[in-house]
């Protein structure tokens, strides 16, 4: 089985003309495009059953609630979770990490404790811990990388001493590296630590099974997986989520409110304060349906082949003039390609590509500590998804040269 070849037709944006060229969208690691069915699902909500959920006894409110909860069940099953109430909706992966840090961390971490993260984390899995650490005085430890951009697991066990939480990305949004989460989880658990996983780049691109990952908590974000903006997910083991105090307070998350205090609601509502992102949840439900219909194994195979093609094309054409960060083996990485081309600054490179309709991202990719490790302030990053094909890669490869002519010093 492979992906249908006319997949681009399902994504309205991909037929746009930009600066006179058909768009070549290579920034899916920042945000993916949306298929028609996701847009339709949200329109359908707004046009036929728009109402607040979990409250109204009337028909459209009941339908809205049912569609939202059905989306929760689909999203749960998409990550291999049997208990939909373990799926908590947030506004993005960033909020999911803040929830973990504030709720679990706030009640479990104090001086003398440590949280282990890695040198390749996104700011979303760094700053929430830093904010809390400034209050609580625990230590943040960093698992370093090997020269080829993998986590240096040789150092793991010794770094685990005194660690209560290991929070690690399943796939780097800069290097593309796929990390051995289940192995890390086993060793962390053996050392008495819990494991939170950043699935923001992983869940959209690979078949995900929380049993296999062996994680205790998993964060991901809707807009990178064919879903809308404004919706993120936190999955957690029931006993763990049950043991955590509420994060945001307000409507929906309470069983009772008295002047002298409140009683929190059950999972998942305990963590869902206020009117939820209803349309967005329904949109994300449609997105995982779409992905399921393609088959995540097929998505992964497509991206392996395309990544392989891209790495070979870039290296063949540019040799020493190009540096590509991260693992060279397509099986060890996703379709995120951070590169440096001669000494062209990423901003200038992406500006030149933009003139040809090619969208790539230039910057620190919200991973400044990693940038420092790599010894750069920014990289140019091309990232691929299920709708990309070899012609997109060819456009990228062909265009680097003209940027070099203009900007190489």
């Amino acid at each position: 089985m492979t992906l249908p070849s006319d997949l681009k037709d399902r994504f309205p944006l991909l037929s746009q003309i930009v600066n006179g060229h058909e768009i070549v969208y290579l920034d899916s690691a920042a945000s993916s495009q949306k298929p028609d069915c996701v847009i339709d699902a949200m329109n359908n909500y707004y046009e036929t059953i728009n109402a607040n959920v979990h409250r109204g006894a009337y028909e459209i409110a009941a339908q809205a609630t049912e569609e939202m909860e059905q989306a929760r069940r689909r999203i749960a099953s998409f990550i291999g979770c049997q208990s939909p109430h373990e799926v908590v909706f947030t506004k993005n992966a960033t909020e999911s990490f803040n929830l973990i840090a504030r709720s679990w961390g706030g009640s479990n971490l104090s001086e003398g404790d440590a949280v282990l993260i890695t040198d390749m984390e996104h700011h979303a899995n760094i700053v929430p811990w830093q904010i809390l650490s400034a209050e609580k005085g625990f230590e943040i430890r960093w698992l370093p990388l090997t020269p080829d951009g993998l986590l240096d697991l040789d150092q793991l066990d010794q770094l685990l001493d005194g660690v209560k939480m290991v929070s690690v990305t399943a796939m780097s949004n800069v290097l593309g590296t796929l990390n051995p989460v289940s192995e890390i989880a086993e060793r962390a658990h053996a050392a008495g630590a819990l494991v939170a996983v950043d699935g923001s780049q992983y869940v959209p691109h690979l078949p995900t099974d929380i049993q296999e990952l062996q994680a205790d908590l998993l964060c991901f974000t809707g807009h990178k997986m064919c879903g809308p903006t404004g919706i993120g997910v936190l999955w957690g083991r029931e006993e763990l989520l049950d043991s955590m105090p509420p994060f945001l307070g307000g409507g929906e998350m309470i069983l009772d409110v008295r002047r002298d205090g409140f009683t929190p609601n059950e999972l998942p509502h305990k963590f869902e304060a206020g009117t939820p992102p209803i349309a967005e949840i329904i949109g994300l439900g449609a997105a995982v349906d779409f992905l399921d219909s393609l088959g995540m194994e097929n998505v992964r195979q497509h991206e392996i082949a395309l990544t392989d093609y891209a790495l070979r094309s870039l290296n063949d054409r540019y040799g020493d003039e190009i540096v590509i960060h991260g693992p060279s083996d397509p099986l060890q990485r996703g379709g995120v390609i951070s590169l440096e081309y001669r000494d062209v600054h990423p901003h200038d490179l992406s500006q030149v590509l933009d003139q040809r309709g090619i969208c790539i991202r230039a910057g620190h990719h919200c991973a400044k500590p990693l940038m420092k490790e790599l010894g750069v302030v920014a990289t140019s990053r091309a990232s691929m998804y299920l709708y990309n094909d070899e012609s997109d890669v060819d456009a990228l490869v062909d265009s680097l040269e003209s940027a070099g002519e203009m900007f190489a010093l």
Partner: protein, 155 residues
Amino acid sequence: MSGLEELYKEIILDHYRNPRHRGELDCPPAHKTEGFNPLCGDEVSLTFLIEEGSIKELRIAGQGCSISQASASMMAAAIQEKSIEEVRDLTREFKAMMSIHEETMTNADQESASAAALTLGDLEALKGVVKFPVRIKCATLSWNTLLTGLDDLDT
């Protein structure tokens, strides 16, 4: 108004208009347990007397809609004099009937729901509630509250 009639069966309206087992027992010797429906604010307060592992008597206080009041009243009628184990089984069976999505039941729930030989009897009248998902919490409020009360006995 066929939809409405399916929800509000005559027997339900009867229990609503003439609730059985209203009131409160003295605690102790009775035990007390309270529950809220977070969606609408309904509150139920149950007092019950355990004798030799059975529910000797149960009384209902609190306010609620026709569904929650009728369900509580029917529950009280159904469990009087039943052993704690029987009450737990009946509760599981009732909640299974009220459950729209199998996924939300644990495996244990499902097995015992089908294995239990208990009959729901009059309680079957509440089956129509499943078609009105927001009302399911009304129907299960008193049952969940009783379960919590029984769990508290063990601790």
